[in-house]
Each structure stands twice: as C-alpha cells, then as structure tokens.
C-alpha cells in the first residue's frame, strides 16, 4: 500500500504578533515548525504503514528550507521526503496549492493521502478536501479514529459538532486528521541519523506535469488585499472592594442588566 502524507512548514503562530503602527507582522525570531496537525497525520501514516506493510512518503510544497520539515518527518519513521519547489508556485492560494499537491500525488501514486485538518498559519482547512476533488477521490475530514483498513476500503470516525459519524470509504481516499486521532511519536536516535543522510527528492512544475496557468499566483483565484490587527473592546470596568463587596456589586450590576 502506498501512503502519502502532506506536511506544511509554518511559523509558530503562537509567537506571531502584528505591529499596530505599521500593520506588519513581527516575525523576528519566530521559529518554523511542522504544522502541528500534520504531526498527527504523520503518526497516522506510520501506524497505517505498520498495519498494511506499505510505504510512507511525505510531501511538502515550499521553499528550499522546507526540506527541514521533511527530514523531521523522516526522523519519525517516514520512508521518503519529496519537496515541491519551483518559482512558478509563488503566491499559491488554497486552490493552487491543492492543485499542485494533487498533481504531485498523482505522479507518486497513493492509495491513502493524509493531511492535517488545517494549517495553523492560514487556518483554512481547505487544501485537503480540494485536493481530493482534483484527485477525483473521496475524502473524509476531521478523522478522529481509524477503525479498520483493508486492501479495498477503510472505516473511520469523523468528528462532528454533536458527536461523530462512522464513515466507510473505498480506496483510494484522502483523510484529514484532528488531534484526538493519536499522539505523535518522538523521533528516535536512529531516525535522526537516517534523516541526516536521507536524499530529499525535488520535483518542479514540469516534473509533476502541472499546467502553468493553474499554479502559483496565476492559478490562484483569491488574493490577500490587506492585513490588519484585530481590535479589542475598551469598556473595561474593574470592580473594587473586598471580595464580598465585589460579588455584591457584580450581582447587582448583572441584575440591573437583566442577566440574572
């Protein structure tokens, strides 16, 4: 069985802030990490590989330095890393990213494609399902448990607002995974050695047979018009006094505004 996991290198968003004066992002010293959801996708791929005896390939689209993420994936046990890198991919939105990744997955061949639920920089959660459409395969989003997997099909649990659905799908299939699915393993010492020496395969636009009009900025229907800092409300009122007085004042205020 061939399994492909899509990983994205992202800035650690917990540390990204906006400079309110210039409306630009402050990124000094913000480290790049593997998108946290993708670590769960890697772990799922490793477990599927162990069950089915398949081969697991990690794919990322990004600049040359995204290679680090692939080596990290290999240190966890992934068999091969593939980097999609080409100047033509510049400015891709989710549509163009999904298109490009889909062409690469077709090129590599896959029975199961795994993605994180969303990437923490954009939080769009669109690339997975869009990719499935380009690949012409079904998808199941928000997978929180893989119940069964065989040569022909897979049974998974999909997390919903009010519980979960058990979904059965034929293969090939694309899954996007949530954090509840598993606990990603730490890289082993041996894995780190392997990763250091691993050869990362690089693929460009022509290697994957993608159309130039469908990738990068040209292939992207959406554009970012501007970015700005979120605004916060400013009607703050601190209630003073002893704890008893504070509670009394609060209950009084809440009764006044008919909250109680």
């Amino acid at each position: 069985m061939k399994i492909v996991v899509c990983v994205k290198q992202v800035p650690d968003t917990a540390e990204v802030r906006i400079n309110p004066e210039t409306n630009t992002l402050i990124r000094d010293g913000v480290p790049s990490i593997i998108n946290p959801y993708d670590l769960h996708a890697i772990e799922a791929g490793l477990q599927l590989k162990e069950i089915t005896g398949g081969r697991l390939t990690a794919v990322t689209m990004g600049p040359p330095q995204a290679e680090t993420s692939l080596r990290e994936a290999i240190s966890m046990g992934v068999d091969e890393g593939v980097l999609l890198t080409d100047r033509a991919f510049a400015g891709s939105d989710t549509w163009a990213t999904a298109y490009t990744l889909a062409r690469a997955v077709e090129h590599l061949g896959a029975d199961i494609v795994l993605c994180g639920k969303q990437a923490i920089d954009g939080d769009t959660a669109q690339v997975g399902p869009e990719m499935a459409e380009f690949l012409g395969v079904p998808h199941v989003a928000y997978v929180r448990k893989i119940q069964d997997v065989g040569e022909k099909g897979i049974v998974v649990q999909r997390l919903m607002d009010d519980g979960f659905d058990v979904v059965e799908s034929s293969l090939p299939v694309l899954l996007t995974v949530v954090r509840e699915l598993n606990t990603p393993r730490m890289p082993s010492l041996k894995g780190k050695m392997v990763a250091k020496k691993a050869v990362i395969r690089k693929l460009t636009l022509s290697d994957i047979g993608a159309e130039e009009d469908s990738v990068g900025l040209k292939g992207s229907p959406t554009q970012v018009r501007n970015i700005f800092a979120p605004e916060a409300k400013k009607d703050r009122k601190i209630i003073e006094g002893s704890n008893e007085e504070k509670v009394e004042a609060l209950v009084h205020a809440l009764m006044e505004s008919k909250c109680l």
């Binding site: 869009e130 059965e168 970012v224 916060a232």
Partner: protein, 396 residues
Amino acid sequence: MFIRVNAERCSGCETCLASCPYDAIVIREGKAEITEMCQMCRSCLSVCPEGAISEIKEASDSKEKEEGRGVWVFAEQRDGIVAGVTFELLGAGRRLADMLGTDLSAVLFGASSSDAAELLRWGANRVYHCEDEIVRGFTDEVYAGLLSNMVDQYGPEIVLAGATPIGRSFLPRVAARLRTGLTADCTSLAIDIESKNLLQVRPAFGGNIMATIVCPNTRPQMATVRPRVMKRGEYDAAKTGEIVKVTAEGIRIRARVIETVKEVSEVAINLQEANIIIAGGRGVGGEKGFNMLFELAGALEGACVGASRAAVDEGWIPYRHQVGQTGKTVSPKLYIACGISGAVQHLVGMQSSDIIVAINRNPEAPIFSVATYGIVADLFEVLPLLIKRIRETKGK
C-alpha cells in the same frame, strides 16, 4: 501581479525579512529576493527604507469575468433541523444582495417543505429545495456534486455557507471543481463599491492578524462564514417567494456514513445556544475547580460551562467545551471567564458576548481589556461567594 525587489536600490539591510509572514524573502548575494513562498500579502511594501520593493501589475490581471446573478446561501440541516447559522447567513446575504441590486436565494438539501417556506420568511426571495432521500444525511460527494451542478446551471455571483464541519468539508470540493476561490471562516463580509467584489475578512495566524481576501477574476465568490458572529436576518411571517425543486441524480458515492453517534453531553451541545457561559482556564487548576464552575452554572438557568484550550489540553474538560479560534465561537448574554488570561485565540471566540465578566488574580491579564466587569481576585475565594449569593437571589 507580483512583488519585485529593485536590486539597484536594495541596500541589503534585511529590514524586509522580519516583515514577511511567510518567510518569503531571502538575502542572496547581498540583495533581497522574493521567493516562491510569497503570498502577495503586501506586508513588505511599506517597510523598505530604500523604497526598493514594489508591486508589479500585469495586463492579464483585468481578466474578463462572467457577471453572475444573485447571492446564494447554503441552508445546512442535520436531522431535519436547519442550523442556526443559516439565519445569520440570510441576514448577511440580504444585505449583500441589496447592495448589489440582486436577489437572495437559499439552497436547502433535505428537511421539509415547511422548512423551505420558513427560509422565505427569513429573507430569501427563492429557495432551491432538494427533498431526495440521498441528501437527508450529509455526504461530501453528493452535496458537492449537486451544488456544483446547480451553480453551473444558475450562475450565482456569491455562494455562502456556514463554517461548520459540514460546510468546511464539502465546499472546498465545489470550489475546486468550479475553478473559483473559497475563503474560509469569514467574520465579516462587505461589497467594494468600486469593483463590486466581495470583501471577505477572516482571522489568520491563530487570530493574531485579520486579512481581507478578494476573488476578483472568477465567479462565484465563495465563503464559509463563522457561526455566531453575524446578526440574524429579519423574520417576516407574511413573506412569500418561489420554491424551486431540484433533484440529485447520478452522483457516485464512495464514502458513505454507516453510523451516526451522538455524544450527548447536554451542557456542551448547547454551548452555542446558551444565554450564559461560565468558562474556566488554567487558573481553575483541575477537575475539582471545574466542578465549582458546574455548580455555578447549575445555579443559573440555561447556563453552560466553557473552557480555554489550556484547560482542555490539561485534560480537565473535554474538547467540546473549548471556546476560541480552534473551538466554538459563542456570543451569550453573559460570559464569565474564570482564570483565563485572554489570549487572542480565546478572545476571538467570545468577545462578541453582550456582557463579559473576568475573574483573574493578575490585573495585567489581557482578558480585562474586553471585560465589561473585571474582578481582580483569587477565583477560589470569589466563586463560592458568588454561588452562594446567586442561590440566595434565586431562592427569593
């Protein structure tokens, strides 16, 4: 359109590097260079002291677009009950349709004809209704296939759906198939007067920044909209309109739901509908602390318990209770935040609540900047008093 560095002007000062959210600028041979990671966010344009970074427009940017007709709202239902976000979408959709001088349609898969009629009273001029057995439950392939076919046939200008598990799962397939843009999880929508394009505002980078997204050259313009941030449309019992029947035929299903399991945690399910939410964070200290919050919720009618991600990550309370960027967005009448610092990712999920009470022992905690009433104190001292005081008032 693309961003370019004028190598002659560039001094190699590296000022621009930090401005780029995507790590798309590198220094090569002493000059800045924009790499393929560039997302055209324009953050770097204003920072260069030499004015060496500029935006180059190409002639092909003004590609002719087909003018679409009408604003569409996808009316999601589960178990025959139309989701609350639908009425918010109808409110937003009505506003956009009026600004564009076009009409508003709802698309309902499943549910009953009385539900369809109800959507007309909530402001739709027309409802496209599919009552086939196959759309009663949600399957990505059927929903995506049917909606794409309908868009091809009727050519709407704008298509909106709720940013719910269902909307966010199948709408990307529709956008992929139609070769058009989709903006995820929008928190505000407007029309640009000049270009008539839809301005879609959404949080990114975990809520640390907001971005305005446009889809200038393709139609329809599609967006999923976060539940509970927009106001519901107006309800008019006398309103009528057209109901158009549609059928779903010949769509292949390869992934099907074989079982649906409801995890009824009564409190959590109702989080988004609750009038009062008592939320706890890391400061609550553990399950015992949360029992105190449940006690307070029990003393108030229609109250639910919410939580910050830190509390969920600690395993003190299930994920379903999480409020914020990666949890639920809520806007109750009263939100009481106990031991929550007020990280921006938490704030985006609750700051549109009518009244916010913050209980935190650190006066510098950012939660106080959104609080209507702030109490700087130890929650373990204040909450028992509050529970007692509320029981007294209710007892009367």
